[in-house]
Symmetry: C2
Subunit: 239 residues, 2 copies
DNA sequence: CGCTGCATTGAAGGCGGTCAAACTGCGTGG
DNA sequence: CCACGCAGTTTGACCGCCTTCAATGCAGCG
């Protein structure tokens, strides 16, 4: 059940079979959500953290005027709310963007890991820190890149992250978001997102139909996005 | 030297005198930077993390077209690059926005703390996680708030954060950034930032002159910003 | 067959960007 | 003491990216 998590961590350091087993025994209960359901409700104080085993989920906030901003997209192998282990209260909600298979790690178990497993602790810490690096990259894209470049950036990032957890084959991956949701990721209007998307398609950079994205010209996509994957920390080294 | 750090951590949980001393002995070397200097250079692999003892600093990235985006503002008591302890390579630079007094914590010392001090480890982890929460709040503001609201939000956030480390008195705090820098924080142009700022001033929400900001109408500022300080996690509880 | 959710297109308008110039305060040097 | 330069702030004019509103197209499904 925790294979994608192990893939995620193993891309950054060596995880021993013992550590694998320890994690596995800390993450037992599982559950399925349907698309549109809240995995975690804003304002609650969950006593566990949620590992996304399969599917897509999003962290989001809704403003008074009803506008929504998505602050993170999560895929298989991501702890969607590991930070809540430290933060206690959820300052945002987490939404299933597709059918989601999740598993829960009780905070009490995680706390025990921090008392007894320094390396695993650092690896879990690392994964929250990578979340932060992704946030920063989004800030740069939102603040100083054109809509087209920003859109290309998201596709680049997801392409790489999905590769890590083996969700890409033949330059294709399943992408179950509607354009309305993607607009809320980028902070754009649905109309403008649609028009921007068509530019990328017309330039034969990618195709997107039937919830499947195919990257046609990876090099050009990266160029448009000014994408450098360094921030994803995909180097295996002692941490 | 680490008093502001202790103020920061103590606002979120009890730090024992023993832990205080341990931290203090892990953070020995100090240094001063002048405004405009890089505290940390993008692409390097520092073997230590940098605690900002006094002053203002910013994390930033520069794009190919020369535009700069600031992704975080740091004040006294912040570890500006604690995440580098996990990430190893700096994927962005950190700039002194004022004269900065900093102190260094060797990663080797931090690693020892993770092996022997689970509670302190969690507190340091917490501080990187709060950084992430701030990033998310910025994303929401950049994506879905008006320039005026976004600007008000930054002022709200800094006002609260500066209070925690006792840098506010009489609704006033020192704010050494130029408008050009603040524009790079918000992802706006300098011209538009200036005009937005004047709206806040004309509405008697705040004043800003001689590098000192005075909050005149805190309630209104929060309303404009749609600000809720929950994400800063200023509740003292066992973590 | 009509409903529903999603994608697409067009038109009009505004927020914010760019360019350019003037202004202010301040330290330096003549 | 004044001239000068410099950095930062302010203002005005024009432009364009992106938003909003509204309508149409399209596919899946009861």
């Amino acid at each position: 059940m925790i294979e994608p998590l192990i893939l995620n961590l193993s891309a950054r350091d060596i995880i021993t079979p013992r550590e694998d087993a320890l994690l596995s025994s800390s993450i037992k209960r599982e559950r399925w959500f349907v698309a549109g359901e809240d995995l975690v409700v804003q304002g609650t104080r969950p006593s566990y953290s949620t590992l996304l085993v399969d599917g897509f989920a999003a962290r989001y906030k809704v403003l008074e005027n009803g506008h929504r901003q998505i602050t993170a997209i999560h895929i298989a192998g991501d702890f969607v709310d590991l930070h809540a282990f430290q933060l206690k209260t959820m300052d945002h909600g987490i939404l299933a963007l597709s059918p989601c298979h999740v598993a829960f790690a009780d905070h009490s178990n995680l706390k025990i890991l921090t008392e007894t497993e320094p390396h695993l602790t650092r690896m879990l810490w690392l994964s929250t820190v990578i979340d932060g690096a992704i946030h920063r990259e989004w800030i740069v894209a939102m603040g100083r890149k054109s809509a087209k470049s920003q859109l290309a950036h998201i596709f680049c990032e997801l392409f790489i992250r999905l590769q890590v957890v083996q969700r890409v084959s033949d330059q294709c991956f399943i992408f179950p978001l509607s354009q309305a949701v993607l607009a809320d990721v980028l902070g754009l209007s649905l109309v403008h997102l649609n028009k921007t998307l068509q530019k990328l398609r017309q330039e034969d950079v990618l195709t997107w139909s039937n919830r499947v994205i195919t990257i046609i010209d990876w090099k050009k996509l990266q160029d448009v996005a000014e994408f450098d994957q360094a921030y994803l920390n995909l180097t295996r080294e002692p941490r």
